[in-house]
Structure formats: C-alpha cells, structure tokens
C-alpha cells in the first residue's frame, strides 16, 4: 500500500474513468462527475488529476481517432490499469471494513 495514496478527488476521477469505459476522456469525466456527484470542476483540474493518476500508474491512456466536434483534434482516452483497479478495490474494501466497525450505537447517536 505504500506510496499509492488516493486522494478524495483522485478516487472520484478514478471511479468515473471506470464508469465511462471505454470512452473516458477529460470533458466526459468532468460531465460525469457533475452529473453523478454534483460537483462542478474546471476542466483543467480534471486534466491535472488524470495526469497525476497516470503518473502513479493507475491509469493508462492513448489517443483515439480524430472527431469532428473538436475541430479534428484527437481525444486522450483513459483506461484503468490493473493497479488502478486494485487500488479502487482496496479503497472500497477499506471503507466497507471501517464502516462495518462503527458501533451501531454511534450511528444512532443524536446530537443535541
């Protein structure tokens, strides 16, 4: 686990890339996050997260064929790598595990 620590936004982006398979690229990820999580992100923020994740080896990317809607420019399509998938699983497992350890009474506690 050492080294690969997933930030909150990173986890979100990583999950979105998984959801959008096989059409995950910058704008699509941004739109999906807005739709699913209601968080409005700037496209540059998405880009930097995607690049960071790629540098961590959790994502891989390749350029697709050019399309008309972008003035003939190609998109960079992101895929989850095995490491990415594992870190998602681990994060998920960690959360579930931790969540399950919360005493029932704590969840029923009422704030005054």
């Amino acid at each position: 686990m050492k080294g690969v620590y997933l930030g909150e936004l990173e986890e979100l982006v990583l999950l979105t890339v998984g959801i959008l398979y096989p059409e995950a690229y910058g704008v699509a990820v941004m739109d999906e996050i807005e739709k699913q999580a209601g968080r409005s992100l700037n496209i540059s923020a998405v880009h930097s997260v995607l690049t960071r994740l790629e540098e961590k080896g959790l994502l891989t990317s390749k350029m697709n064929d050019p399309t008309e809607e972008r003035g003939g420019r190609r998109k960079r399509i992101f895929h989850l790598t095995a490491a990415g998938k594992r870190s998602l699983e681990e994060a998920h497992q960690m959360r579930t595990q931790l969540f399950n350890q919360i005493p029932k009474v704590a969840l029923q506690f009422q704030w005054v």
Partner: protein, 867 residues
C-alpha cells in the same frame, strides 16, 4: 468554421502549452466551447478564456518553460551578467588586470607561434596542384654511409616515366653566376647584386610564379631573361621593360617577361630566371661537362602518384642510367609540400628538419596557453570565497544551477574575449619585432587565410576550458552552508586541485628556465671557444677576375694603409668548410682505412692572415712553388692521424696531386661545433683558384679599413661593386638557428615566469584572505610576524619542491638531448638547477610576503571582531 473562440486566448494556449499535451487540451477546450456557444457566444468566449488561463499550469508548460524563460529573460539576463562582471572587475581591479594581463600575454605568445607555424606550413602551397609536384633528391652511397643531395642529374630523362608530365631543373646558388652584378639603366655607378636561377622552359608552368607582363612562357628562347617586378624597378624604373637588354657581365639577354615578386613562403627564391644556354656560356662548359652537373629537380605528375611509386620508377636503370647506378646513386621523389619542413636526410632516411622546431614551438605555445588557463581557473575559483554569498543568495531566490553556470561561463567568456582581443592586438604590434628576432618574414597576418578560424576555435576551446570548471565548482555551493559561513568544507577538493595545477605550472616554468639556462651556457661556450684561428676584425670579399689577376698589386696597395694587417685568399672559408675530403693518401696508409680530411687551398699569406701557429717546420713563402710538389701545411691532428713520426718532407697525395709537407700548424675547427673537428691540410693554390679574399685589420679600425678597402677596390675593379662580409657575421650565421631559438627561449622564459608569478599572486591572495582569522589568532597568541610568514610560505614551499622534482629530470633529458647534437659541449651545469630552485622560491616567498604583509600587520582585533 465561422464561430471561433477568441484568437488571442487560443494563441496564448498554443504558445505556452507543451506540444505533447496541446492537442488534447485544446480539443477539450474547443469541445466545451462549442457546447456552450449554442447558449451564448459571450459566455462561451469567457469560459474558453477562463479555461485557457486555468490550463496555464506548471505541468502543462513545464517542457517548453526553459525555452520561454530563457528567450524572455535573455536580454535582462545578459545585462545582469554584464553588470555583475563589471562590478566584480571593479571591486578588485588589480586582481582582474593581473588576470587579463596574464591571459593576454600568453595569448599573444600563442598567436605568434600560431602565425609562424601557419606560415611554415604554407610554404610552397600556393602552386596549383602542389601535391602533384615532387622534388627529386639524390642519395649517394659510399663506404657504407649515404649522403643526400637536393639535386638530380642535369640530363635526367623521365620520358620513360609516364606519370611525369613535366620536369624542371633549376640551378640555384648564392654566388657567381647566380648572384650577378646589374647596373641600373639610369646610369648609377654602383651595381646591384641580385640572385637568380637558371632553368628550362617549364619553370613558369610547373610553379605558380605569375607573369605580369610579356611572354607567359619565357625561357624558350636561349637569350631571354625573366625578371621580377622588383628588379624591373631597380634596373629600369618601369613596370614594362619588355624588350630591353640586360647586361650580364659579358653576355646579354632580352627581357621577355616580368613576374610578380616571389612570395616569401616559397622555397625557391629568385629575382631573375635565365636559360641553361647562358649558364653553359658563363661556365664555358661543353655539353658533356654540363651533363655531369646536378641541379634542383622538380617533377610535375599528371595525377596523384604516391612518392613511393614515383621513386621506384625513377630508380629504374634506364632512368638513373647505368653509369650512375654503378656509382651507387639513387633518386627519391619527395613531395614538394614536405620540402620545407622535412628536408633533413640522415643516411638516406628522412630525419625531420624544420618540423622539429615547428613541433617544439607548438608544444611551447600549448604549454603557455595551458598555464594561462590554469591560472585563470585558479584565480577564478579562488575568488569564489568572495562570491559564495552572492551565489547563495541567487540560489535562495530561486536561480537554477544552470543559470548560475551560464553566468559564470559568460563571465569567463567575457574576460577571455577581452584578453583575446588584447592578445591579438599585441600580436599585430609584436609581429615586426618577432620577424626581426627570427630573421624571417612571416607574411601571414592575424586575419589571413584560415587564421581567424583557428583563432575562433581556440577562443571557444579556451573559454570553455577556462569557464566550465569554475562555473561548476561555484554553482555547486549549497546555499545553506554558504550563507552560514561554512564554506571551508566544500572547498577542500578544489583547493587540492589548485595546488596540483600550480605544481604543473611551476614545473613548466622551472623546466623552461632550466633548459634555457643550459642552452645559454652552451651557446656562450661555442661563441667563446677558441677555434684555433682568428675570426674577429676580418673581412671577406668576393673576388673578381680582375682582382685575382692583380692580387699582388691589390695586396700591396692595401698594405700601404697602416690599419690593414694582412691579406690572403683561399678557396673556402675555414669557418664554413663543410664536408671532408676522403681522398688523401700518405706513406704507410692502411688499405682499408678511411679518413676524411679538411682540405683548404690557399695563398701563402693564409696562415699568417688567420693567425695560425706554425708548430714545426716553416710557413708558406712568397717564392713560386716547386713545379713537382704542392706545398702543404698539416694540422697537428693530421700528423697524429697519419701516424707520421717525422712529417716534414713527407710526400702525401690529395686526389692525384703530389704534395710535400713543409710544416705543421695548430689544430683548428672548420665548421659548426656540432660536428667534430677533422684533421686539416692546407695546400697552396694559385690566386686564380681561390674563392674569397680575407683581409685582417687592426682592432678598432673598422671604418678606416673599410674606407681604404673601398678605395683600393674601385681602383682595381671598376665594373663591380664590392661584396663583403665580416667573418664575425658569418660565424653568427652558422649558429643562426641556435641563436634564434635561444632568443625565443629567453622570450618564453620571461613569459613563463610572468605567468607563474601571476598564478602565485592569485593563489597567495586567496590564501591570505582565507587565513585572515588564523593569522589574527596566531598573532593574539603571540606569534611573531616572521613565524606567521613562515606558516604562510610553508604551504607553497612544498609545491615548489614537488614542481622542481618533476621539472628537473624532464629538463635534464631535454637539455641532454639537445647538447648531444654538439660534438663540443659543456658539462651539464648543475648550478642552474639550484639557481632555478632558488629564484623560483625567492620569487614565491617575496610575492607571498608582499601579499600577506598587510593582513599580518593589521591589528588582530580588527580581523577577529568582524563576523
């Protein structure tokens, strides 16, 4: 597409964005733009601009960042670098001037050497297809030794060698009939002596001696002459003397062409060219006699044939001829381009020549430059102490290492450039002086031919050598340490290096000083050595037919002057009689013994004129000779070699001539002291067979004697102007190379010492600066000034000792090798080593003391208080 996002934003994006990321970033931005533009163009434009600004991130611009900041900041950067350089220069003007001065002087030295070397290499390169021209040398093998002559048979027939296109024979020489007396047309009485050649019609087509006026191919008609521009002006005072007649004492020739003065970098030098027909007439030689002559011979081949193949073909028996083959004569083709630099043959093998000197000076020049660069590195790194804080601050405020390197490299470059320009200026100023020192005319300037490119290459190499090391050392400081004043640790490495460099430098200086000391001693020895005869206060004049016919009268007329002591004549100058005569036989000579003698034919006054001492028997007398036996005087050594118990009256043979020994004279040297002395025989000849008249006059009466001589000369010889030489000058001429090189060596000794001094000053300054506190503490604890000085000098003492230990054996080897080329030489003068050591130590100690005195004398409280 009609709708476009704002152009400027788009352009800005394209400008800053890493090209590898541009496509996807721009794609995304465009996609969003097109999506939003359906709602509102303004909103889309704003969004696009916003996105572009948001994309302006470190990651996206990082790759192109370097280029951008550099090109953006270059002007400001250069300005800053210049300002900082200037400030540093002004802060320590003495130090900086020293630095630049040292560099400039050594650059000037190196440039002069470069010019000279380029000049030497440019010899004979101006001919078209110069690599297709070969010079023919002749090897003659006799008694196991091979003698090489720069000539080939006058009738060498190369029609059997298809590669040879043209052959040109050139008869050259210093004396009559190559040096002739010409009377200017304007009617001046004095005649001008000019030197020329005799050759065939190929002379001007093989070589590129350009013809300005007249027949482009002279020397086809027997009675024509081609003259140089200079000669045309001297004789006719016009540039178009075509068709005029030139008198060649007795003969006449018509000017057919005028050629441009021969460039100084040509091995062949002449002012006029005549045909061989005229030479035959001058010599009065028949065709058969003429054919036995050997002349300088050059071949032009039609394509590039290797010298080896050409040599092989030349040695074909049909080319060499049967008669020469029997005499063990063989030819060798030498490329003309090698002729100047590799013209020495030993035992038939190429053995260097001028190239040795060229190489020596290339080495010296490189050493001088290396020393200067070492100095520069030493002084720059030493100065780092004062600049460490500057570097620290620069780093703290965010300078990259690369920009600090850039700064220091540019600073070094600037200083090197300034020194370079000063050096070039010095070179140009010193060139005439250098020429007169060398006795040559280096006609290449600093801007000619390839020289500027060499200089440029040199500049780049030197400035990078001098700039990069200090730059990397200085830029490696860690700001934390530097700003906390802890920079002693990272410096130790470079300090050791500095000492090593100083050792190299001092070794070179010490080596040069020692070598030149030995050289000077030896030259002093040869010039002072008693040769066995007088050479001072003596004039040699070129005889003419009229003078020799009336020799007795001429002599008597001269002797009327009290200042003239004696007049004699001989067929060769005892100062410069080279080679030897192996054809001497004497009673009881073993069959297989081969002994070479110096044989000089002379008039009876010769021994007296030259101050030879008669040990046994009698001198020559004015009595006419015995018709049967030629009278000879032999040297004491000759008596010993011949093993004669009672030499007087013995009959010996020189060649076919029967000679009788009438006396024994003291031994005397007959050529450069490089060769060992040979036994000598003086035989009497008729005045008509002598080639030089020697006049001995009283010391201190040079002017008087010359006046008398001129008067008597014109009385006896009205057709010529007197040609004369002082024997002392002739003597110096023998050692011209040695004297020239000794002068140069002295020059370089001074430069070497100067540069070493600069180096020591630089390091001493640094050392004192570094040890200011140490000195203060020592003083506080009661150390005397002498004690502190000792501490400071001790460090350098070791450097000097190591340098001497390295330099001595190397200098000893070099000096020994040089001395070995003399048959008569001094013992290795050991005191020079001691003296060099003493001088260098003294200079060093003096410099250190002067530099540190101020600091040592400062009240220690002052130095210790400041932190």
């Amino acid at each position: 597409m009609k709708i476009q996002p704002p152009r400027w934003a788009d352009r800005f994006l394209e400008w800053y964005c890493n090209p590898q990321l541009l496509e996807e970033i721009q794609g995304d931005a465009y996609e969003l733009y097109y999506r939003t533009v359906k709602e509102s163009k303004t909103k889309a434009d704003l969004l696009f601009t916003w996105n572009v600004i948001r994309f302006f991130r470190w990651k996206n611009i990082k790759k192109t960042n370097k280029k951008i900041t550099q090109s953006q900041a270059s002007f400001a950067m250069i300005k800053n670098i210049l300002v900082v350089t200037l400030r540093n220069f002004m802060r320590q003007p003495g130090h900086s001037l020293l630095n630049i001065g040292g560099l400039s002087v050594s650059f000037a030295c190196a440039f002069l050497i470069l010019l000279w070397v380029t000049f030497e290499y440019s010899f004979d390169q101006f001919h078209t297809d110069t690599n297709q021209i070969y010079s023919v040398v002749t090897h003659v093998k006799s008694d196991g030794a091979v003698q090489t002559y720069n000539a080939a048979s006058a009738v060498l027939d190369v029609s059997l060698v298809p590669e040879v296109e043209k052959l040109v024979s050139v008869s050259t020489g210093d004396r009559w009939p190559h040096t002739l007396c010409f009377k200017p047309e304007a009617g001046a009485k004095e005649c001008v002596y000019l030197n020329g050649v005799y050759s065939n019609e190929n002379l001007f087509s093989v070589f590129n001696f350009s013809i300005i006026k007249g027949d482009p191919n002279p020397l086809t008609q027997p009675n024509t002459i081609a003259i140089s521009e200079k000669m045309a002006y001297l004789l006719f005072n016009t540039d178009n003397p075509i068709g005029k007649t030139v008198k060649l004492d007795g003969l006449e020739a018509v000017v057919a062409s005028v050629f441009k003065n021969i460039p100084t970098n040509s091995t062949l030098q002449f002012d006029f060219a005549l045909t061989f027909d005229i030479l035959k007439k001058k010599w009065g030689a028949s065709e058969e006699v003429f054919a036995q002559n050997f002349f300088d011979t050059y071949l032009k081949t039609n394509k590039e044939t290797g010298p080896a193949r050409l040599t092989e073909k030349l040695n074909d028996v049909r080319v060499v001829t049967e008669a020469y083959k029997v005499q063990n004569i063989s030819y060798q083709a030498v490329p003309l381009s090698d002729w100047r630099l590799k013209n020495k043959f030993e035992n038939g093998k190429q053995a260097g020549g001028r190239i040795d000197y060229v190489m020596l000076f290339i080495i010296i020049g490189s050493l001088v430059v290396i020393m200067a660069v070492i100095n520069f590195i030493n002084m720059t790194t030493a100065r780092a102490t004062t600049r460490a804080k500057e570097i620290g601050i620069r780093k703290v405020t965010g300078a990259y290492r690369s920009s600090i390197v850039l700064q220091f490299v540019s600073e070094s470059f600037l200083i090197v450039l300034i020194a370079f320009l000063i050096g070039a200026l010095l070179t140009q100023l010193a060139l005439p002086f250098f020429n007169s020192l060398l006795g040559e005319h280096v006609s290449i300037g600093i801007l000619d031919g390839w020289v500027p490119f060499y200089l440029l290459a040199l500049l780049i190499i030197i400035s990078s050598l001098a700039g990069f090391y200090p730059a990397f050392v200085l830029s490696s400081f860690q700001p934390v340490k530097v700003l906390k004043n802890q920079f002693s640790t990272p410096f130790t490495g470079s300090q050791r290096l500095r000492k090593i460099l100083l050792v190299i430098q001092l070794s070179v200086s010490a080596g040069i000083v020692i070598f030149s000391g030995v050289l000077y001693q030896q030259l002093n020895y040869i010039t002072k050595k008693n040769l066995g005869f007088d050479r001072s206060n003596m004039i040699r004049i070129e005889p003419t037919g009229a003078l020799l016919r009336n020799f007795e009268a001429f002599k008597n007329e001269l002797r009327k002057n009290s200042s003239i002591l004696s007049v004699g004549s001989a067929n060769s100058n005892p100062l410069t009689t080279e080679g030897g005569n192996p054809g001497v036989t004497w009673p009881g000579k073993p069959k297989d013994q081969r002994t070479t003698f110096k044989t000089i034919g002379c008039s009876f006054e010769f021994p007296e004129t030259f101050g030879l001492k008669i040990i046994e028997g009698r001198d020559f007398t004015s009595q006419p000779q015995d018709s049967l036996h030629t009278e000879v005087l032999v040297s004491a050594e000759a008596v010993k070699v011949m093993g004669l118990k009672n030499p007087l009256g013995e009959i010996i043979q020189i060649g076919a001539a029967q000679c009788v020994i009438i006396g024994v004279v003291n031994d005397f040297h007959t050529e450069s002291l490089r060769a060992s002395r040979l036994p000598a025989i003086l035989y009497r000849v008729d005045y008509m067979h002598t080639a030089g008249i020697y006049i001995k006059y009283q010391p201190g009466t040079t002017q008087q004697s010359m006046a008398a001589l001129n008067r008597v000369y014109s009385q006896f010889e009205s057709n010529f102007t007197m040609k004369y030489w002082f024997q002392d000058d002739t003597f110096n001429e023998i050692y011209k190379t040695e004297i020239t090189s000794s002068r140069l060596v002295v020059l370089f000794t001074i430069v070497a010492l100067l540069i070493a001094c600069v180096g020591i000053i630089g390091l001493a300054t640094y050392n004192v600066h570094r040890k200011t506190k140490e000195i203060g503490i020592r003083r506080v604890f009661g150390a005397s000034i002498t004690q502190v000085m000792t501490v400071l000098t001790n460090e350098f003492l070791w450097v000097i000792i190591v340098a001497i230990l390295i330099a001595s054996p190397l200098a000893w080897m070099a000096a020994n090798r040089w001395l070995a080329s003399f048959a008569y030489r001094i013992e290795m003068p050991w005191w020079i080593y001691v003296a060099t050591f003493a001088i260098i130590s003294m200079i060093t100690v003096a410099i250190i003391c002067l530099q540190s005195l101020k600091t040592v004398l400062t009240n220690p409280t002052k130095t210790l208080r400041s932190e």
